[in-house]
Structures are given as C-alpha cells and as structure tokens.
Symmetry: D2
C-alpha cells in the first residue's frame, strides 16, 4: 500500500513514526501477542501447562505478523481465533491446547488495547504535552512583564501582560496533563472470560481472580472491580474525555494566537521559512496555518466523544456494536499528539511584536481604575459617572480631569493613583507576579 492510497488524513498526511509502535494495526497485534504470552506463562506458573510449553508459545507468538493473522481471519472470520490458530501452528502438539486456554477473545483484545493506549499516552502523548507545557512556561517567564491589552468580547478591556495570557494556557493544559496521566494509568485489563464470571478459568484454576491479577501484573495492569466480556467502558471514556478536553485547551491557544496575528492586531506572528509560500495567488500573505490546523484537528476529533459515550452501552454481557467504533479511539490519541507537536513547534517559533503590543493599549483602559477609585473614595454612583464620560467618545483622561462633579474625589487621589490613570499600561494588577507563580506551580507538577 502506497501511503497516498490511504483514505485517512491521519495516515497520508498527519502520520508520525513515533505513533507506529503503539497505534498501528501491526502494533495492535503485537500487543495481543504479548497478552497471549503472559497468559501462557501464568498457566505454567499455576501448573496447568509446562514452563516449556509456555516458552514455546511465547517464542512462536513473536514471529507472527499482522498480515498472517489477517489472512487466517479471511478464512475463518474471527480475528482472535485467527491469531490463536497462527500460534498453534507453530508450536508442538503438547503446547497447542494451552494457547489461549481459559480466555475469551476479549480478554486478549481489551487487555491489549488498555496496554497499548496506556503506553502510547505515557511514551508519546504525555511527553509531547509536557514539552509543549515547558515551551509555554519559557514564553511566560520571558514575557511576564510585557504589557498587553486584555480583551473581553474582542474589545479592549484592562491591561495584563503577554506572559499572563500564556499563564492561562499553562494552568489549563497542566491540569489536563494530570488528568490524562491519571486516566491512562487507570486503564484496566481483564481475564474473566466470556461473560465475566470466570466460568472457564474457574474450571481449572482454584482462585480465578488471583489468576487474572497475576496475568495482568506481568503486563503492569490491574483488573477492575467487575467486568463482563468487556472491561467497564468508563476507564476509556475518562481517558478520552481527558484527551479531548486537552485538545480543547490547545484549540483555544491556537484561536487566540491566530487572532493576535490578525493584520490589524499583529501582536504575534509565526516565523516564516524563507522558502515558505503564504498563498498561491497572494504572494504577500503570512497565514497562521499551523494554528488553524490545531483548531481544525480539534473540530475533527471533538465530536467523537459521542462515539465513546455510545460505546458505553453494550447489551447484557456485551454486544459487538462497539467493535468497529472503538477501533477509532486510537485516532483520538494520534490526533492529540499531532496537535501537540504542531503547537509546540509553532509556539517555539512565535515572535512577539512589542511595538504592536504597546500601540494596542489605548487610554480607555483608564475607565475601570477611575471608577474603582472614585467608588472607593465614596462616590455614590461612580460607575454611571464614568460610563457617561466614555459615551462622549473624546479622550477619556482629559474629560475625566475636566469633570466638575468629580473634582472633590480626584483631589483625594494619591499621586500614584493619578499616575495609573495617566499610564494605563501600568494598570496590570498582579499580572507579572501571578504569571511567575503559575509557572512555578506547573514546573513542579509536570
């Protein structure tokens, strides 16, 4: 298969080799093999089969490829039985009966899925998110004193600092990283058989729950408090929620950054390669395509949470209507990784235009401090008084100072308070200190 014969954008365009050992179908089968081997070994540990048989099974399993299994599946229409057949063909008659013994297909599949998704999160996704977090912390610390106009409703509000803007993402992304970490570590395996009551294993093993725990321990997993043919769907749902909500935070970063790149705002910009083309017809364009891509990936993936929620419902001890759909879960991990990687790289190269930042702090930012100080000084209707001044559309400070009714209050203001009104770019509250505090907190947590 040529890469460009693929239909999925994740395969022909956004594929990253780091994902292959966990998220490819070849990897899925590698992990199922690992699980079959752990089962064989535990059977041997319990004296059901010989150690030699277990070794044979492990050995045989290692040589099997996805292609081989798919070919056998083509013949018998059952994917795990196909895997079992492939293993059995490569072992002695003595070992044959112990391949897969006591297991239902889904003991293997559920456990293997938990394991590879856990590994993908811990080995690939979480390190990349941590690297993004680190990049954000570097920017925030660097720019913690750089004044920027705060914006609400797309309107100039009160000043903050650019580092403070970034601190918001640090805190939110940090929280999501902890959630993903916790949910990935909490994925569970199972070896409770076809309907969850350990029917098969209890026939030949004295304590089937201990037997299950022993297999899973070999794989660094734990069982849940109950299972049917399926591991409880909520472990995966919690992880997918954590990942998708992390993508939401990244999409917010991307949206903010691309708006700050608007021609009229121009506070930040993506560095452009010398060879890079902005538009096929408008040679002057510098488009925020990487930020747009991060947002777009979120749009593609976010609604899939509904698939995860629908897969919570499986009739009785399980129906198979979650089979095809849950295969797409790995794409959520892949897309999150792709977004994190792109966002990290783009943020690393983000240039800040201090000239624009300065220019965008307008004098109207003095309205709030004026109102607060007047009120604190006892003006009974300070908000309304200030609102009326702003309605005039003329220079705020000038109007304020000239207002007769306000004179007695202005007279009571300290020199420092007057300075704040005159230099609204200094009216940044505790933005710089708070930024550093947030950075310190998350440096210690991630």
């Amino acid at each position: 298969m040529n890469k460009f014969d693929a239909i999925s954008p994740l395969d022909y365009r956004y594929y990253s080799d780091e994902l292959k050992p966990y998220l490819s179908e070849e990897a899925a089968i590698r992990y199922q093999i690992k699980v079959e081997a752990a089962l064989a070994k535990t059977l041997a540990d319990n004296g059901i089969c010989s150690q030699k048989a277990a070794d044979e099974i492990e050995q045989a399993a290692r040589s099997i490829t996805a292609a081989e299994v798919y070919e056998e599946e083509q013949r018998i229409k059952h994917n795990i039985r196909a895997l079992v057949n492939c293993i059995q063909r490569k072992v002695s008659d003595e070992a044959k009966p112990f391949v897969h013994l006591t297991a239902t297909s889904n003991d293997i599949i559920s456990t293997a899925e938990a394991l590879r998704i856990k590994d993908a999160c811990e080995q690939v996704l979480l390190p990349e998110l941590a690297a993004l977090e680190k990049t954000l912390i570097e920017i925030a610390e660097r720019e913690k004193e750089t004044a920027q106009i705060g914006r609400t409703h797309g309107q100039h509000a009160e000043p903050i600092t650019f580092g403070f803007t970034i601190a918001s993402y640090i805190s939110r992304l940090g929280g999501r990283i902890l959630k993903i970490r916790e949910a990935a570590a909490n994925l569970r395996g199972k070896f409770s058989g076809a309907v969850g009551a350990y029917n098969a294993s209890s026939l030949i093993i004295r304590n089937p729950e201990e037997f299950e725990a022993a297999i899973l321990k070999k794989l660094s997993l734990k069982p849940g408090s109950h299972s049917t043919q399926l591991v409880e769907a909520e472990y995966t749902a919690d992880l997918m929620h954590a990942i998708i909500s992390a993508m939401g935070v990244m999409a917010n970063v991307a949206d903010d950054m691309r708006h700050l790149q608007r021609s009229e705002i121009a506070e930040v910009y993506e560095e452009f390669g010398a060879q890079q083309v902005g538009s096929s017809t408008m040679p002057h364009k510098r488009n925020p395509i990487n930020f747009e891509n991060v947002k777009s990936m979120w749009k593609a993936i976010m609604p899939r949470m509904n698939t995860v929620y629908m897969d919570q419902i499986s009739e009785h001890q399980r129906d198979l209507t979650n089979s095809a759909s849950s295969r797409f879960n790995t794409e959520i991990v892949a897309a999150a990784y792709t977004a994190a990687k792109k966002l990290k790289k783009t943020m690393k190269n983000l240039a800040v235009d201090k000239e624009s930042l300065r220019k965008n702090i307008s004098s109207s930012a003095a309205a709030e401090p004026a109102y607060i100080m007047l009120a604190a000084l006892g003006h009974p209707d300070a908000h309304e008084a200030v609102r009326k001044i702003t309605l005039s559309g003329k220079d705020f400070l000038q109007q304020l100072m000239a207002d007769k009714e306000l004179k007695p209050y202005l007279a009571k203001m300290t020199q420092q308070q007057i300075e704040t009104l005159k230099n609204p770019e200094k009216y940044t509250g505790i933005a710089a200190a708070k930024t550093q505090k947030v950075c310190d907190e998350w440096k210690s947590k991630i």
Copy 2:
C-alpha cells in the same frame, strides 16, 4: 507503508479498492490536476494563452504523483503552490505563467473536492446503495405473505408480515438514496478567486463569471450563487446529512436484524461459512457480527456531522480552520460504502426461520381486534373491558368468549370477524398488499 502500519481502521481493515480512485490522497491530487488542466484550456479558449501552452500544461500535469507534490510541499509549506511548481517545472517558459493563472488555491481544491466526492457518490456509493435496495426488495416480495408478529416496545403487538418489515427499510432507504443523489449532483465548484469577487480574473477576462462557468462546465460542475474563497459550505453539509441519515437507516436495519437473531427470537439468521468461528471460547456461538459492524460504523461516523456543522463557520472570506477537518469528509463516504456493502451481502444471505416466526405469534394479538370490533359494535367502554380480560393472564380468547357482559356484542359479530379473533396470524391488515405497493414504487424510483 505497510497496510498494517496504518492507524485508521478505514485504511488497515475496511479499505475497499473501489474507493481508491476517488477517496485516496493520490486521487485528490489527480482531481486537482484535472482542474488545473481545465483552467489552462479555458485560458486558451479565451485567448489568454496559446492552445499549445494549455496542451503542454495538461500533458505535464498527468505525469505528476502525490509523492512528488508532497516533497515540494515539504520545502515550501503550501500544498497547491507545490502542485503548481511541479507542473511549471515540466513545461516550457512560454507556458509557465499560465499555470494556475487567475486561480487561488481554493479554486482548485474546492472544485476538485466537489468533483471527486460527486464521482465517489455516483460511481461507488449510490450503485451499492441501489444494490442493497434491490436486495431488500427481493426479500420483501418473497416474504410479503410470511406472517410475523409486529413488535412495539419489544413487546408483541399486532401481526404483520416479514416482507412488510422489510418494506419499511425499502421506503426509508429509498428516500435517502434520492437525497444523496440530489445532494451529490448539487455539489458546486468555484473560480472566483481569493475572496470571491473575481479580483484576479476580472483583470484579464471580460466576463469572469462566464469564465468560471466555462471551466466548471468542462468538469460537469456548476458554480453557486455566491462564493468567497470557499464554495458555500451548505452543499457539502446537505450531502453529508443525506449520507449520515442513510447510515442511520442501515443501522436501524442492522439493529432489528440482530435482535431478530436473539436466541429466544431466532426468526432470522446470518448464514455461516463452514469454516467460520463464532467465538474463541464458545464454539457454539453464531454471532450477528456483520449487523453489529454496520451499527458500529454508524456510531463511529454519525457524530462527525458536528464537524461538518462547525466547518460551516469560517471567518470573513475564510479562515483555514476547516482544512484538516474537512479532509475527513471522504471518510464519511467510505464508511457509508463499507456499511452498505456489508449490509447488502449479509441481507443476501439472510435465512428466515418460518417455524420461529409462527411460534412467536401469540394469542394476545387478538386483544386489539376484539376491542375495535366491540367498539364499532357500540360498546361504550370496549378498551377498558378488553384490558381487564388481559390482566387476568389467562388465555385471552377463552376469557373473551366466556365474558357475560360482552355476550350481546359477540353475538353480532360476523363469522369472519370471529375467525380473526381465533387466528390472530391472519390479523395482518393490508401488510402484504402494502409491501408490494412499496416495492413497486421504489423499483420505479431507484
């Protein structure tokens, strides 16, 4: 790339070669090339360049591969400019300036996408849905007289026929086929330039709207009533709605069929291959895996309509946050095709168990005709009278006939009416005739 290195289930598991010429990334670039060639020819038709230059461009374009374009994109970070560069390298200096002239990237991309999705629908998806419809019609005509208990709330209601059950799907799927047909034929292209006002083309072409229509006509497409950098998103949204709602109908068929296969109901079953394995641990199982798969594919795809709806919103003359996400639209077509193909094959092999069908029609089905006839004969509270009889839990007919209060009404019933009460499997209304009528209607429409 090995097929099993893919992450997407659509690529490693559900891929179908029929989709490749339309839905692969190679195909995407093939279609973009087609559009560039149509543009060049129309430039020549308008005397902007020579016919020879246009031929050169078309010739050169044909030899280009996706791999080549991706390599160039790697260098300049712009996919359509990469394509243009690849073409320009293969033509004479005389032809060079006319490659892509007047076009913005998205004139090419939007038009090519419309074209290949239209083709995929018309060449692959719709024929498969029509074949499924035909299969359903065959079953319905064959089984139009086969009595089946109708079910509401999972409870036995009144009898119908199995053909009538199928007629429901014929009518609903038929309606969806018409919707997909209409929406696919209604996809639009555009050649209105970077912001939709024909800025570039109006510099060198007298009537740029005619110029646009001429290019699109070569591709059997039409422009919309207005465009920005983008074709209006609603043409695609309508198609995706049509496809996803068709998948909903297929999911309903699948759900019904797998419930009719429940061990206790057993009215239908999927034919099983002699080699086919039902379960890796329960050798006796005959699982409705194909129907389950059709339902599951719907679960995976349905929520993506939300992505399509989010992609309706693009700031001003367009932002690019629909770029990655809209690349996944082709997957909706692919999944619908996969579901249709699987459902058709499974329905073709569906076996009907007449013994079970007969057994499942219970005598309680006589309650409704009893109530209707009593009421029509003037009983002032027939529903309540019959409800009380059913509460007893004893044989309905016996209780009814023995009821003293009802005697005068029963005496007025015709022999035929009494027969209906005694043989509820005959109480199928106009099920058979209606089934045939539905079959005839849709045979003529599809």
Copy 3:
C-alpha cells in the same frame, strides 16, 4: 409556575409569545385534539358513526386543557389514553366508542407533531428568517460599493465591498430558507395503526389507505410511502438539519460581525442604547453581546442533531426510546427563531464605520494584481518575483516600481492597470455588480 421557577433558558429567558400557539405543551395537546376531531369526522364521512357523534366529539375536545389531561395521565400512566378518557367523559354513550376508534396513540401524536412543527415553521420561523434576509438585502444594496478589505486567515487579502460580504450571507441564508420551507412542507402524518399495517382500520374500513389520506387531508398533511407505529424519522431529520444548518449560517454572520467590531478593526458596531451598560466594572465597554448570543445559541443547539440521528433508530415497529428525546425537537425551532429575531434586530441597527473601512485597506493588496498582470504579460515566475518583494517589509508599490528585473513588464502595462496598483481599494473585482445580482436573485426567491 412562576416564569423564573423554570429551569430551561428557553422558558425563563428566551421565551417569545409568538411561539406559544405552536411549541408549548398546551399547544401540543391542542393539536392532538384537532387530530382526534379530524378522525371522528372522517369516521362519520365513512358511515362508521353518525355526524352528530363526530360533532359531539369535536365540541367536547375543544374544551379540554393540558392540565386536565396531565391529571388523568397521572392516574393511568398513558398520555393519549388520558386524552381519550377526557374526551369520552364529555360525550354521550352513543359517541363514546368512536373517540379515537382505529387509531393507535402514535397516529395522533405523530400527526399532531408534524402539524404543529409545520405550522411553527411556516407561521413563525420562516417569516422571521425572511425578515432577516430582507434586512441583509437592504444592507447589501446600500453598501454594495463600500470598499472593504477582504480577509482570509484573519489576514488582509484583496479588497471587496461590505455589501459583497453581506451578499455571502444572503445567498447562504436564502438557500437554507428554501430548505426549511421544503422540509416543513414535507412533514407527514399517519393513520396506519399500531404497527403500520392498518390492522385496526382494515377491520371496519374498506380502503384504509384512503381513509388515512382523508383524515390527513383535513389537516393539510399527507401520509408517507410507508409507516410503522411511527412516521419515518427522516422527514423530521431533514427539517432539523435544515434548521440547524440555518443556525450555522447565522452563527457565521454573528462571528464575522463581532470580529469586525474588535477594537482594532472597528468597521461595524451594534448601536447602543443611551441607558445600556457595557460592563459592570468597565464602563467604557461596547460589547457585541447580541452577536455573541446568536453564536452561543448555535453552540447550545447544534449538537442536538445527534439526538435526532439517534432517534432515527427505533427497534422493529417502534420502541419508545425516542419519546422523551423527540420532545426536545421543538426547542430547536424555538432557538432558531430566537436567534433569527435577535440577529435581525441587531443587523437592522448595525452601524458601518467608513473611516475604519478605508483605513484597513493597506497597500499590500496590490501584490496579487501585480503578480497576475506580470504573469499575463509573460513573466515566467511572477509569483516568486512578487513574493520576494513583499518579504522586504517595505512599501510594496515603491519596491515594485523600482525593481529592475520587472521594468520591461511594467512598461507594457496600461495606464488603468497601473492605477489599480496605485489604488488597491479599486481592486474589488466585480464585487458591486455581483452583490446586486445576488440581491436580485434572492428578492425573487424568498
């Protein structure tokens, strides 16, 4: 119930009296009564009961309130039987048996729902959307010559006119209005009984399909080609898609307008009342709260399409798992109306700041015409030549004119072409003419 005891924002905050006669629960029951009356009359037309009995039923039905029906439902746990009981209590013993005769509950409910949603669309939603469309047309015609910079990726691209921007919404919203109109008119009723095979009616009526058609005709509805206990779900799904995609267009308008109100862009603004407060702490703020609200309503409603899609699936002749969920469909209509009304009002009061519009057209807009004209004059690599000039960051026109390599091509340009380069605000393609054309088209269609 106090209005502010309500939980739903649609009831305590966004409620509009125009919606009450169609979308309230009182209205639901009013419509069910209408349907019961039409049934009784058709029974009389067919000689099943006397005209007098039918009149009695209609009369009795009119006096019934929702409260009465809910009280009876409390007792017997069945909403339609409750309605029937309420009617029966008010008619003579002679008329009693003919109330609801041959109908299943859902004949009444489905038909009544189709009717009231159709009416709500035709009487309330569509007129409001048409009024919005008219408002947009007025703006577009007024501003068709007002130059505005076109924006892609939030970056200045090529100039258009503000009217042309609005024309995009006219065309898209116009298309949606036609879709809603079509889908609303296409809603269907049913009188095919409990499982769709006309079991009950065929007992006492010779041609039950004609009987069904006759009842529905009295209500200006038609039956579908097939029904079970339910009307096919796709008629409603098509309407909900049409409405939700119309909300998507409105959300796009809202997003664009609120961005054009950004402090740095300031091309438009919502008119503010003299008493209106922008912020509780920042007295100077003028926030685009109405546009934000329109976008937010879309966010609340759009995902509900997934509910509609899930409701497509109903087991066998119907399960009831669509009952509570489909009750929320009316909220989609209500929210769309609320959004349309708010958007219309806000657009009516939209002020355009021509000074800002002029200021925002920068000289870089000359890059595209320069490239196009150079290419048309035969420059073999015009795009790259222009791209390099823009990289310098200096005044584009000056650099262009000074470029030695380009001299021979510049010499060939006409005076008019040079003028376009010097006055990029004139480089608006056919924006004005196209705007008028779009206005004319939709004035004739809506």
Copy 4:
C-alpha cells in the same frame, strides 16, 4: 406563566420541585445575591467599607426577586449591573459605592454558578444516585444465586446469575458517583476581576489573592490556579463528563432491562398499576416505558457534551459566546436527576420471573466447559472438535458423549466435571461470590 405554556419538556413534564432551589432562574439570582453579600462582608473585613454597610447590602439583597432584576435588565441590557442597581436602590448612599466593588460581572456569575451546581449535585443528584445504587445492591444480594443465561451478541453464552448482571451496574454506577462527587467538590469560584489579573482589587487591597480566597471561603469554594474573566472551563467540563457518563451507565441498565422484558425473553417486568394503560389501542400491552424513558433522556442529553467542549474555547480573556450555551448546563443536572429517580423507582418495583430465567438456559451452554476441559486434558484441537459438534444442530450433550474421537478424554473427566456438562445452569463460575464482593465494596464506598 402556566406550566403548560413552557416549551421545555424539563419544565412542563419532567420538572421536580427538589430541583427548584438550585436549578431555576430564581435560584440563579439567589446565589448571585449570596455572592454579592460575601463580597461586601469581605470588603468590610478588610476595612474598605464599614460592617454596617456590608450588613445593609446583605439585608437589601435578600429581598430582591428575579422578576425585579429582569425588569431592570430590560432597561439597561446588562444582567449583573441590573442586580447591582437593584441592590443599590435599597441601601444608603454610604453603602452604595461598595456594592459589587472590585468585582466584574463574571466574578459573581461564575462563582454563583459553581456554587449552585455544586449544591445541586451534593444535595439532590448524588443522594438520588446513591439511593439508586442502594436499590441495585439490594437486588444483587437477593438474586446473587439466581441463575441466568449470560448473553453476548444477543446470543446465549455461558450462565451467570441475575445478581451478577446487576453487580455490573453497581460497579459502574459506583465509579461514576465517585467521579461526580469529586468533580462537584472541585468546582471553583473566582474574584480576579475583568481580565483575571486582579486589576481592580489590587488598587485598593494589598493582597488580592488572599482577598479572593477569603470571599470564596465564606461560600465554601476555592479559586483555581489561574483565571481570566472566566473560571477555567475544565472544572465544569469534568463534572459534565462525569454526569453524562453516569447517564450512559443508567441508559445501559435501562436497555438491558427493557430487552429482558421482551415478550420472548420475559425474565423481568416492571410492575404495572391496576389502572395503568399499556396502549391506547392494544389493551394487553405491558410496555417498559420507564426504562425507555431513561434511555431517551440520555439520547436527549448526551450530545450536549459537545456544547460543553465548545465552551472551553473563549477568545483571549473571554468572549461571551459561552453565555447562552452554558445556561443549559443546569439542564444536564436536571435530566440526570430525573433519570436516576425514574430508574430507582422502576428498579425497586422490578419483578423477576424465575420460571423464564430457568427456561432460557439452554444446553448449548455446555460447549465452552466441554472445550476447556478437553483442552486442559491435552486435546490438541479441542475448540475445533467442539465447534463441529455444535454445527450439527442436534442435542449437544448427546453428540458429545457419543463422539468416538473424544472418548479417551471424556474418560479422564471427574464426576463433578461431567455433572457440569449435564447441568449447565451450574456453570456460573464465581458469579455469586463475585456479586457479593462487588456489593460489599460499594456499600463501603458510597
């Protein structure tokens, strides 16, 4: 407003008075008032205003109604300023300036929302879920030994017990209760001002973070690690995920129960009132309407998680496009409560039909233990040997015993193993013990 004038099913049909003190709009304003009072008191604690002024404010606030606030909002178009005006009108000139001082509207709104949703979860939703959990535990303990056929793919698999079936829900619902509890307790308030940098409060308070913490402590809340105008959206998203996934578990219970009520399965049924009507036309019906309702409520609510995810994204320090949409969050809590209450009541009245349970355990359940025992005894291809026997369609046990090839293995079986094959209803693994273990675990946790 008449209850039946409402549009929302939550208001006219599913409303529960328990929800009113938390989830109604009146409650929203009550909570905002509480927050304004806590602010005033903390201002007094910090010496900004007198204790008397703070008391005056608290006193005045208590008397304000939603209707009053809405009327003022009508005039000035700002909801929180309206509330402030209402309070100010009722206090002395001395107290006036200190109403709302340092706060931005959203300090009040976000904090009040966190508080009332936390209270609604802790006071209403969680107790109801715990009561449901308790009901399930009672059933599980009662039925832990009652054999039931396990089902996968809707097909009979291996036997379990009915208590074990219920144990699955106990474990899953228990897990969700813990998640909701944790997420509700983790909701945060904020008092960091208009853009999150404590701009206003830092003008008059030395340590504004301590000031914020002090206000929130009065309300039993904490601040987050960072805020903008908004509390970080993820606290709410986590709670909504927890609630919606709990509804998923309830929907699964409901689906399973209604399938177990199918006419052909009939293992359980909802108790029916003597007056209760099953169908308006089929007097014999006993429909699982309560379970259907629980599933349907899930369908209505689940997709709204996408709204929550979209509301994660707010431009810069906030745009208001989350305002209308997040108002619907309370409906998620209300719907979950409604579903829990209905499910609890229905499960309390659930009747178990032991006769049907026994009948539904078929002899084919012996296939798995036969395969496992043959394999454990060294048969090299036990699965295939058993699969072939089941293909015959004849009585499984008879065929097995008669199979010549298997004779040597059967001879090695113990008497107890042979008994299991003969009495598959005993082949329930450790179902009973596991059920008790799960019950014990969750009794201690909830």
